[in-house]
């Protein structure tokens, strides 16, 4: 008699194993299968096309009823195995059957992970695993309405696309900042999000689900930040877990999954396992390719042929019609790795290869995945690609094809994109004027359109437009590249961020065709600043792109402690503030208290863990961060002025306080320092400050562009003003112009040197409307900037920054 082979689970893995087994040794086993699902073996990975309506169930069946009959296999549909008696070598089922085996195969797949938030078992909350889930989703979608998909991974996005296809209004809620973060880097994640959103699906990233709402059935989803999204259907697709309980109860070795050796044997020599329920060499799998490799090995093991499974490298695709993405291997950055990146902004293409020791170890492709299979093959073979490195990224079919057009980003701009911010000239006007008037150079374009005729920061773009319109006959001057990651200069980057409405670092890098995947320590902080300055209130600051002082909101010292400098508005303080500072110094054993060169007090030598406590006490006494660490407003120095001084002409102290209250908190390209002196004796050293006010009998001299650091620069006089209100307006306008036009890390004097005093005069002093508009933009930006970073952190934000991960001092003392 043939040996009895019993299989628990009728999914894709045992299905493929049986095909091999029947081909090699048709009569060897008497086979019985138990399947909890009431159906035959079908192609689970095609559930998404069934959901979207592109296919139906019959089209995805792998083995129909006839196949089991033909091969003499007994299939118990809708029967769940509930126990294994290893001593008796029998299994028992939920409907009371007990069957014996000689060899047993466990192939129970995996179970969807359900986040145990309140409301998770309300009717209308589904997972996405089998045909029943798909049927339930299609039924729910008949009523149209809103659906929320929790989880922006492979399954979640397929579910979202399918539900949208069925006419539902879908929102994807994803915990991480980028979609499919396990398979894609941030750049491909950006393109994917853009594509998903273009289909009318809303995507909320960085969002934690707090509760599922509803009384009898689901009515909505509430996020951690309080947002409520109405929903008639919620699909949870946050991950899967190997389904190993059956093995565990039978006493087999089970970690995350049922542990198998290279022959797919469990800790019991007569019991085997394969598919998503197993753990092999510490790894579990959630894609079919590795399971098919396991299937081949197990079939051989069962007929005593030598075979070994050595683990798999997997590749990912997303099965949403019209979206092409591919990823495989390890694509993290590291010192000993190199990368090749190719971007084509116009076509929405991003390709990245990660190399180590002349071999491909990872790849991410978006938009053009034709070469995915080839790269994957080179990766798995560990092929040496040194010879083809130059052209590798262009793919297997490369035959000296065209190089990418460096002007593509500019060519793709719409006609109404503003090129010259000073004079409000758009792209169409420039290209139109070139053609209509037969213009051939920059001077002519300036004369006719006024584009680039003021501050000049758009010169690079205007030159590129001339080149684009005139073709090869014109060779545009290339501006100095901002860093090795791009060919564009700072001005072009700034103008394109505005013109193309780019609102995140990955968006800038993709649309402006960055040559690296993640930028470098030069461009990241610059981009972070440009985005912050361009989109106040909209852009979310990227902490990882900031230096420690701006991350910790304190200045690091040589011994790793920090210094704390609270604001002392206009250099004024009070007995109460001084008392609070003294108390803080005592309470936290702060070793040094020093008066700074900026007219305020520095507490030096504060331990990092003490920072929130120190800030809390200073906050309680009414003091806020002095931003002594920031590329932003530092101090406003004043002298005593007309209040006390016998020479004082105006209230310089009062004006300094007003100016500091108005400008604090703003982020700027480099630090900004102000001073107000009460008379031309200039005791506040106003003429070596970025903005310096010197009071005179008739009003105020408004000076700009001073510094007294590595270079000593005296200010230049911009104009004379009559009232304090005017001084505030001119200060806001000048700060804003500097914020909008300067290159990152240029102080005001450097920016002034580049654009010229005349253009600044024109915009601030002569053009009243423009000055008022700049002032208004500064006031708007300040609404989002004037939040005390210390108070935020005292209230718990970024807590991880200030607490040690663990304190083992006692543990070691007890040794």
């Amino acid at each position: 008699m043939a040996e009895r082979l019993l299989i628990v689970g009728n999914g894709m893995a045992p299905g493929r194993m049986l095909e091999h087994l029947l081909e090699k040794a048709p009569g060897r086993y008497d086979i019985t299968i138990f399947n909890a699902e009431p159906r035959v073996n079908y192609d689970r990975i095609m559930l998404s096309p069934v959901l979207s309506g592109e296919k139906n169930y019959e089209q995805i069946v792998i083995h129909g009823d006839g196949w089991y009959i033909k091969n003499g296999i007994t299939l118990h549909k809708g029967t769940k195995v509930v126990g294994i008696d290893r001593a008796a070598k029998t299994i028992s089922t939920d409907n009371g059957l007990v069957e014996s085996y000689d060899k047993l195969v466990i192939a129970t797949g995996s179970v969807p992970f359900i986040i145990p938030v309140p409301g998770h078992n309300l009717p209308g909350v589904l997972s996405y695993r089998d045909l029943d889930d798909v049927d339930a989703m299609i039924l729910a979608s008949k009523a149209r309405g809103n659906a929320v998909v929790i989880g922006g991974g492979l399954l979640g996005l397929e579910a979202a696309a399918g539900l949208a296809e069925q006419g539902m209004d879908v929102t994807v809620v994803h915990l991480m900042p980028t979609l499919m973060e396990r398979q894609l880097d941030a750049n491909a994640g950006y393109l994917l999000k853009k594509e998903i959103e273009s289909r009318g699906i809303k995507v909320i990233t960085g969002a934690n689900t707090k509760a599922i709402l509803g009384s009898n059935r689901v009515e909505g989803v509430q996020l951690e930040d309080g947002t409520v999204i109405p929903a008639a259907l919620v699909v949870m697709a946050v991950g899967i877990r190997p389904n190993g309980w059956l093995g565990k109860e039978a006493g087999l070795t089970v970690n995350r999954g049922i542990v198998v050796d290279d022959q797919m044997r469990t800790s019991d020599p007569d019991i085997f396992s394969l598919g998503e329920c197993v753990e092999h060499r510490g790894a579990t799998y959630g894609l079919v390719a590795p399971l098919y490799e396991m299937a081949g090995v197990l079939a051989k093991t069962l007929i005593d042929e030598p075979a070994a499974y050595n683990g798999s490298v997997t590749a990912t695709k997303l099965k949403v019609t019209g979206i092409s993405l591919f990823s495989a291997g390890d694509f993290a950055e590291a010192k000993d790795r190199e990368e090749i990146v190719l971007r084509d902004a116009a076509r929405g293409v991003y390709k990245r290869l990660v190399l180590q020791d002349g071999k491909i170890i990872g790849t991410v492709l978006y938009g053009d995945v034709e070469d995915g299979a080839w790269f994957f093959q080179l990766l798995r073979e560990g092929a040496d690609i040194t010879e083809m490195r130059q052209t590798l990224i262009y793919g297997q079919g490369y035959a000296g094809g065209a190089k990418l057009d460096p002007m593509a980003a500019i060519a793709a701009l719409p006609d109404d994109a503003e090129i010259c911010g000073c004079n409000g000239v758009c792209k169409g006007k420039i290209t139109g004027a070139i053609t209509a008037n037969g213009l051939t150079n920059l001077e002519e374009v300036r004369a006719v359109t006024k584009a680039s005729a003021s501050c000049g920061s758009c010169t690079g773009l205007v030159e590129k437009l001339i080149g684009l319109t005139l073709g090869d006959s014109y060779a545009p001057k290339t501006s100095k590249a901002a860093c090795g990651c791009t060919d564009l200069g700072h001005d072009d980057i700034r103008r394109l961020i505005v013109a193309k409405e780019l609102k995140s670092i990955p968006a800038v890098m993709q649309e402006l065709e960055w040559k690296t995947s993640c930028g470098c320590s030069k461009c990241r902080p610059a981009l972070n600043y440009y985005l912050l300055a361009t989109w106040p209130g909209d852009y979310v600051d990227d902490n990882q792109s900031r230096y420690i002082n701006e991350r910790a909101h304190a200045n690091i010292q040589k011994d790793g402690t920090y210094s704390v400098i609270p604001r002392m508005w206009g250099g004024m303080t009070s007995a109460a503030e001084l008392r609070a500072i003294a108390d803080v110094a005592d309470k936290f054993n702060i070793p040094s208290v020093k008066v700074t060169g900026g007219q305020r007090i520095d507490l030096l030598g504060v331990k990092k863990e003490d920072l929130p406590g120190v800030w809390a006490d200073l906050n309680a006494a009414g003091m806020v961060s002095g931003h002594a660490y920031a590329k932003g407003l530092r101090t406003v120095k004043t002298c005593v002025g007309s209040e006390w001084c016998r020479f004082g002409t105006q209230d310089s102290t009062g004006l300094g306080i007003k100016l500091e209250k108005f400008t604090w908190g703003s982020w700027t390209p480099h630090k900004v320092k102000l001073a107000v002196s009460g008379c031309p004796r200039n005791c506040a050293e106003a003429t070596v400050k970025d903005i310096g006010i010197v009071c005179i009998d008739s009003g105020y001299e408004f000076h700009i562009g001073g510094a007294a650091g590595m270079e000593v620069k005296a200010t230049v006089l911009l104009c004379r003003l009559e009232t304090e209100e005017e001084v505030l307006e001119y200060t806001g306008a000048l700060m804003q112009l500097y914020r909008e036009q300067a290159h990152y890390l240029d102080r005001i004097h450097k920016w002034l040197h580049r654009v010229g005093l005349d253009t600044v005069k024109k915009q601030i002093v002569e053009d009243h409307e423009r000055r008022r508009a700049l002032f208004a933009r500064f006031v708007h930006a300040q609404k989002f900037a004037q939040i005390d970073p210390w108070a935020e952190r005292v209230n718990g934000a970024f807590g991880h920054e200030f607490k040690p991960l663990a304190d083992l001092r006692l543990a070691s003392a007890a040794e």
Binding site: R256, D330, A332, E333, A334, K335, D336, R337, S521, N543, Q544, Y547, I548, A552, I556, K558, D559, G560, K608, H800, K803, P804, L805, A806, D807, L808, R809, A811, S812, A813, E815
Partner: protein, 113 residues
């Protein structure tokens, strides 16, 4: 002989990607780093140059840039990169199901000291 024990010090998610946290010990701070691809490393929190706290630096790939004078230190070996010379002690750490475990005692020769 000292056998190594593994002491649990926290979860992977407690450290931001490309970030670091400190573990206090009686013999000084240990910096625990998490890279972009979720590898975890532990080093004495002391730059070989002038003792800068490496935990406060910027993590790039498998190295960290010291916050004081920008030396670049390998997280794997503790070795200063490029032209700079020096080495910081590394300590064994491992990840078990998203939990970080530090080899302990981190300084085996406590008694000999």
């Amino acid at each position: 002989m000292n056998t190594t024990d593994w002491l649990e010090i926290g979860r992977l998610d407690d450290i931001p990607k490309r970030g670091a946290r400190v573990v206090k010990t009686a013999r000084g701070d240990i910096a625990i780093f998490r890279t972009m691809d979720d590898q975890v490393f532990a080093l004495d929190d002391k730059c070989p140059h002038k003792g800068g706290p490496l935990s406060q630096g910027i993590v790039q790939g498998e190295s960290v840039t010291c916050p004081l004078h920008n030396w670049v230190i390998s997280l794997k070996t503790g070795e200063a990169q490029g032209a700079d010379q020096g080495c910081t002690r590394t300590i064994a750490v491992r990840l078990q199901d998203g939990r970080i475990q530090l080899s302990w005692p981190a300084v085996p020769a406590v008694k000999a000291a």
